[in-house]
Amino acid sequence: MTDQIPAILVLAPLFGAMIIGLAGQKDHRACFPVALVSLLVTLFASIGAIFTVIESGPIDYFMGGWEKPLGIGIHLRIDSLNVILLVAIAIVAVLVAIFSIRRIGDKNAEKTPHFYSLYLLLCVGLFGITIAGDAFNLFVLVEVSSLTSYGLIAMGSSRRGTLAAFNYVLMGTVGASFYLLGVGYLYLMTGSLNMQEIHSIFVANPDIASSKAVAISFILILIGIWIKMAFFPLYGWLPNAYSYCPSSSACILAPLMTKISVYVMIRVMISVFGLGWVFASPGYSNLVVWLAVIAILAGSMLALAQREIKKMLCYLIVAEVGYMVGGAWLADEQLWGLTGSLYHILADAAMTLCLFLAAGIFAKRFNAIEIDDLEGLFKKAPWTAAGFVVGALAMIGVPPTCGFFSKFYLIRGGIEANHWEYVIALLISSLVNAVLFFRIFEIAFFGVKPSEGHGHHEEEEAELKEEHHPEIPNWTGTSSLLVASAFVILLGIFNGKVVELIRVALEDLTVVAQRF
């Protein structure tokens, strides 16, 4: 049974999506249970995968029994690096599905099956990306997840959302095409598409590995993935796409899409090219760290300038992507930067989920789109506000939450690698986050500055709006928010265990990878 876990992870949501597509046409209430069941199956499968991988090492799965040397085939591989991510994806997917129950069904019943089948297909793509062991399969699965996310973003009622989705299609396709081109050069040089095969060919033939074509392919792949993850100069599609789409879509896309792209980058660096090759010339890794520094600073500054909550969170994502890319490229001896960036993938998924869920609830129940609209919400929705506070504290980096520990490891990596500019950028970004979120806390606790003077009136208005949606039960959204914030804290408290897992995975992989 455990041998089949990789197939189950991909196929359960796929069949779920098909069933929803058929059954949902008759009765849209059938959609949610099917989606939840298939997501729970993936959750159990991924938890099973953790135990299997810890006990008996990586699980290799060849679809249809077509083994590696034949060149083409679907190779799924779960090792200790991606198994934690699988659980994270499954948990986020289940929580957002619970959050979305009434949100999707309320206004547009005819769109419900479409939403849930796209949602499950997105999960297929994300699980597939995480466990793909083949460079070309990875491209196809990236496109599966991207195509569904275009659909999810364009589903909203906002016109700007549609426009943002169009821009995202163009940017996303260019990114995927660059990646495909890079894989083409890799295939040209090695004659294989399987990641392990390519890597062993590089190890066996250093002259191939040091050729210009391989360097070009690495650059093309990096540019492609950077577009997908909205790394700083290529982030243009992200803020509008994630802030004008339906909040259920934003809640699943924002925590997962960019983080999974970061994981893809790390996977390509470790498993395909090998860290020894990637960090061979320090000039390039310094350049990337500087780019990450610019990304962190620019993302934070742009976030300061926003008045809408979701837009602000989107620019914070741009900054967080900078954290992760910079951490992965620090190239310190002990790989603490890489550890921190892998841990931050999990931590950032949890805290972004928290903040977006809270922003979604605020927007739906109190019509609070802008920061000033949040006035007095701590009284009206104490639980939602508590979840928001936990997410925000994690974003700032306050100790019991996971945000503190990921910054701790990243800063440790930065110091050991002598990249002080990265450390300073992280600290500045934490300060900016503190300014941003404490401004929100102030407004939400004590109201808008008295000079604006219409506080009382707005409060009444918000109450009216609340009465407008009396049928919305707030327990689904709030409970998934509270579970998410519990994860933010638990991930922080048990950071030792998670980091230990990551260290073991990195040691396993880099022992193989650095033999050049």
Partner: protein, 158 residues
């Protein structure tokens, strides 16, 4: 000039064309004002990569990569004899013995990959066209500058 042609351009002719096509596509994607023209640019961009991959698999004087259990000469002979049962016997005896020489075959793998990439491209184009249709319904225009003017005009966000 002739030297340049023979040494640089001719041996890598397909690759030059793919780079040129890719740049045309990228230019259309960035510079064109009409959304449909942008999509055409996107398609050209993807097609350029398909050309690149297909060029990878090409060899001079190569045959199609199909396993031929008879071997070509035997196949002709068996057909001339017209004996089906004998042919089947021969086939059994040849299977496993006569593995064809892979050096004489074109590499089929890039072509197979491109079938998948074409499907992905078609799906992307379909999604993009339907989003463009939604944009036309909501803004009444497909020209980017007009749409941006409507967005900036503030009469948005219903």
């Amino acid at each position: 000039m002739a030297e340049f042609f023979e040494q640089t351009l001719q041996p890598h002719f397909n690759f030059w064309i793919y780079v040129i096509l890719m740049m045309i596509g990228l230019w259309a994607l960035i510079a064109k004002n009409n959304l449909i023209k942008k999509l055409i640019g996107m398609s050209i961009f993807q097609t350029a990569i398909i050309l690149f991959y297909v060029s990878l698999g090409v060899k001079e004087d190569a045959t199609i990569p199909i396993l031929d259990p008879y071997g070509q000469a035997e196949h002709a002979a068996a057909e001339a004899e017209g004996a089906e049962t004998e042919g089947e016997k021969k086939r059994d005896s040849y299977i496993g013995k006569k593995s064809p020489d892979p050096d004489t075959m074109a590499n089929p793998l890039p072509h197979v990959l491109m079938l998948t990439a074409i499907v992905v491209g078609v799906a992307t184009l379909g999604v993009a066209l339907s989003i463009a249709q939604m944009i036309f319904k909501e803004f009444g225009s497909l020209e980017e500058d007009e749409i941006l003017e409507i967005v900036k005009g503030g009469s948005v966000d219903d």
